[in-house]
């Protein structure tokens, strides 16, 4: 018995499952809303060139700074970079050296951070897809919550069983069964087993549940 104290009534299906369903749905929504709408493009290992080009195009369109990345292709621009002002101020050269070193380091760490951020995003997406799976796994059960509140309901009722002998429209060797399952319209399943087969009802239920789940997924 789930309940630790006899003074409490056993749980109803509704009490137990409906909140779970709502919560899983909310959790998944909270994860998905932003994860799929992030404007930031992580640099990808597969197409580094393409990604870099996309960034440069974006920078050119935005404020033209992307063009400065092409300075190596012009002699005079390269010359600017190698201008030596140390005769005027030796400290300036030292400072420039320090700047270049820290800039390279910062670029390296920025790239590393990008990679880690991408892995982190992947972990978040994995969690989100597990929540989606949880939702998928759970929703058909939790859907039953609303259906199990009345007294004395029949959740699974076999209404008709026919074979080729009683109904010529049923192919030979098969058995057609019509069942009512939960709140659905009558579900018709055709199984290869005969009524006398010990597996008969298991096969019927499996097929009926499959149809029920499929219908609710749709």
């Amino acid at each position: 018995n789930l309940m630790p104290f006899p003074m409490f009534e056993p749980l109803s299906f509704h009490n137990m499952f409906q909140p779970f369903f709502d919560m899983i749905h909310r959790a998944q929504q909270a994860m998905d809303v932003h994860l799929h709408s992030m404007p930031y493009h992580f640099p990808t290992a597969e197409f580094p060139g393409e990604n870099a080009n996309r960034t440069v195009c974006k920078e050119i369109r935005h404020n033209s700074t992307g063009c400065l990345r092409m300075k190596d292709q012009c002699d005079k621009c390269r010359e600017i970079l190698s201008v030596d002002c140390s005769t005027n101020n030796p400290a300036q050269m030292q400072l420039r050296q320090e700047l270049n070193t820290s800039l390279q380091l910062a670029e390296k760490f920025s790239k590393l951070y990008d990679q880690l951020l991408q892995s982190y995003q992947q972990k978040m997406l994995n969690t989100s897809s597990l929540l989606a799976q949880l939702n998928e796994q759970f929703s058909w059960v939790s859907r039953l919550a609303n259906l199990t509140q009345g007294e004395g309901q029949q959740y699974f009722q076999v209404t008709t069983v026919s074979s080729h002998n009683s109904d010529p429209s049923v192919p030979s060797g098969l058995t057609k069964v019509v069942v009512n399952l939960f709140d659905s319209q009558p579900i018709t399943v055709t199984v290869p087993e005969e009524v006398s087969n010990p597996k008969f009802m298991e096969t019927v239920v499996e097929k009926a549940l499959q149809k029920y789940r499929q219908k609710h997924r749709e």
Binding site: L2, M3, P10, L11, S12, F13, H14, F20, D22, M23, A27, A30, M31, L35, M38, Y40, N53, V56, I60, R61, N63, S64, T65, C67, M70, Q73, K76, E79, I80, V83, N88, R96, E98, L99, L103, L105, A106, E107, S110, L116, L117, S119, Y120, K123, M124, T127, L130, L134, F138, V141, Q149, E151, Q154, Y155, F156, V158, S163, M201, V204, L209
Partner: protein, 205 residues
């Protein structure tokens, strides 16, 4: 092929109900397994978050040093101004042409406005900015801003999802072993709300 009697149909229905109960119990077991997977992924996420924080610290230290050096260098701006300006005037047309060619070939969108904007940008830029790799510094700072934004968005989404998941997984349904689900008869007769599982009490907390 004798007709199936009402009694037999009823027996079949009872038998079918047993299988349905079994299926529901299996679904519940699987739900618990997914919950375990979610927890494992979350542990991996936490470890990764630690690594991210370390990397962030290193990145920020390097950025801060870059900005310091940049500020100090700016204080000495003007020392080689003449040389730089002369070279800059010759560098600009080549840079513009190279950039426009690249844009037309790679970016594949209207280049008219971009050309005008680039002209203005080059005329306003100083060779000193160029000399100290100002574009790389700006690009780095912009990246830093975007990375912080992405991280904030992810953390915010996760915090919201996580508080719901914590609430959900604290429930005694999840804290029991999978075998414990077998006690449960999904079609129990009671309709009364339990105090333990009353969703209102959870939301209030």
């Amino acid at each position: 092929d004798k007709a199936i009697s009402d009694k037999e149909l009823q027996e079949m229905s009872t038998e079918g109900n047993k299988y349905i109960n079994k299926e529901i119990k299996n679904a519940l077991k699987e739900v618990k397994q997914i919950k375990t997977l979610i927890e494992e992924t979350n542990e991996e996420r936490k470890t990764l978050l630690g690594t991210l924080e370390e990397a962030k610290k290193k990145k920020e230290d390097a950025l801060s040093e870059t900005r310091d050096s940049e500020a100090k260098l700016k204080a000495s701006e003007g020392l080689c101004n003449e040389t730089m300006t002369a070279l800059w005037e010759e560098c600009k047309p080549c840079l513009k042409q190279t950039c426009m060619k690249f844009y037309a070939r790679v970016c594949r969108s209207g280049s008219g406005l971009v050309g005008q904007q680039l002209e203005e940008f080059l005329n306003q830029s100083s060779p000193f900015y160029f000399w100290i790799n100002g574009d790389r510094i700006d690009s780095l700072l912009e990246n830093d801003r975007q990375q912080s934004h992405v991280m904030d968005v992810m953390q915010d989404s996760f915090a919201r999802a996580s508080s719901i998941m914590d609430e959900l997984f604290q429930d005694r349904f999840f804290s029991r072993g999978p075998q414990d689900t077998f006690f449960y008869s999904p079609f129990g007769p009671s309709q009364r709300r339990s105090l333990f599982f009353n969703p209102k009490s959870r939301f209030a907390r």
